[in-house]
Amino acid sequence: MSDHNDVHLEPTPGERFSKFLKRGDIRETLAWATFYTAVFVVLGAYFYPKWMPTVMSTDMKAIERLMVVFTFISAPVCGFVMSIFTQTLRHRHKGDTPPPDGPAIRNNRLATSVFAGVSSLLCLTAIVYGLIELNSSAEAATKDAPNALVVEVTGNQWVWSFNYPSLGVESNVLNLPIDRPVIFQITSADVNHSFWPVQLGVKADANHLATTLAQTTPIKLGTIDVKCAELCGLYHAYMETSGEVMTVSDFNNWVTAQGGHSA
């Protein structure tokens, strides 16, 4: 029996793939990629909730979750990039003379397609997640509108003031009752400002002779910081005030003390 009669079979895609995975450089890449992906996941999942303020509304909760989810989505990309980064540094050329020429790889259609495909898929996931989130907060806004507490927010250089029309109260602090949807109707008496009650996770610019809306439901008792997020001149940094999410009875007491009538 001679060897010439043996049929040389093309390796199947499966065989080619497992041979590919057994290559030393690929294994090193995968190892580093896994390591870096894990690092980024842990960093994002741990640090974002740690740094971001107390979750005090439904919207803020969604935002912190979103930061973590997007970290998961982007971590593989970070892992891949840092993996090649590390690997090539490890194999760097040492010395003052130029390195020898490397292999003349001008293209790899498969690698390009896989990369473009995977990154597009991750991008699509981010888009879809974001659109769903955007839609659900819009829906919640419409649903909660009837029993919401309306707060008219006026920004002017360089103080926030709040008017509760249904309660007959005007104030420079933003106090809110817990578990009741609140609709902010925001306007400016002069230049552009941006109304930002930090712990409530909503923001809307204040424009002159226009009303912008923000809506959320406070779900936790505590202090709210209200800041201005659009440079509005000299004392932009001092255009801040605070407020509190209170129990309903405390809120009603406060309303009465301000000379208003509870709704």
Binding site: S161, A189, Y235, E240
Partner: protein, 238 residues
């Protein structure tokens, strides 16, 4: 060039560069000094009880002057622009945990607030101010000449403090002359506004006027309103 010379040149040049940037910094810092120094509240001998707590008393007097010349006459240092300004200084120092009484002599005309909220008195004892001997809790938004609005950054290192005092305008006749008003105890043509509030612990705050007098500018909040040190200032509680 030897290695040592080169290294010396590099290090010296770097230090020189840092010195140049430092000089710019020092220049900006010098330009930021309070134009008229600090106005320190006078501590009073007696004390007062409010809501069951005892507080020492202090008082401070300021004015709002329609132009630089009047301000200088009343103790301010000359300023670069001829704007309406608070005086004799725009940096007030108040003692902590004290019942502070502020007296403001005001001499200007007025028109309309951008935000009528600032016609209300907020944060003073009793929620009122005393204008020429009469206690009021608000001034009509179109009869305000300036406001003294004291506020600060809400931060864990200091107590909150918010006071808004609308200052009533002095009327003018057809010839743009001030009409003398009844001002008990002085010959001034303006009003005397007196109010009190209680300071918290140590902290840094700011005050600015909320009545727009920057004529010609958008929302009339440019010019004097937006230039630091005329219609704005600092309050240090020490």
């Amino acid at each position: 060039m030897t290695n040592t010379k080169r290294a010396a040149s590099a290090i010296l040049s770097t230090l020189l560069g840092i010195a140049v940037v430092g000089t710019v910094g020092i220049t900006l810092h010098t330009l930021s000094a309070d134009p008229s120094g600090k106005l320190i509240a006078t501590k009073e001998a007696d004390t007062i009880t409010v809501d069951g707590k005892n507080y020492p008393k202090a008082s401070v007097t300021m004015g709002v002057y329609p132009d630089s010349a009047t301000a200088v006459k009343n103790g301010s240092k000359p300023t670069k622009e001829d704007y309406v300004q608070y005086g004799p200084s725009n940096h007030v120092v108040l003692p902590a945990h004290t019942y502070v009484t502020m007296t403001l002599h005001v001499y200007d005309s007025g028109e309309k607030l951008n935000n009528p909220y600032f016609g209300k008195v907020v944060g003073t004892i009793g929620g009122t101010i005393n204008i020429d001997g009469v206690d009021v809790s608000s001034v009509a938004p179109d009869a305000v000449q300036h406001t003294f609005t004291l506020h600060g950054l809400p931060t864990s290192s200091q107590d909150p403090l918010f006071v808004n005092v609308p200052l009533p305008h002095v009327e003018v006749n057809d010839k743009d002359e001030f009409i003398p008003t009844k001002d008990p105890g002085t010959n001034n043509e303006g009003h005397t506004v007196v109010f009190s509030f209680i300071t918290g612990g140590k902290g840094e705050y700011v005050f600015n006027c909320e009545y727009p007098c920057g004529d010609g500018t958008y929302a009339k909040f440019g010019a004097a309103m937006s230039a630091y040190g005329y219609m704005s200032g600092k309050v240090t509680v020490a």
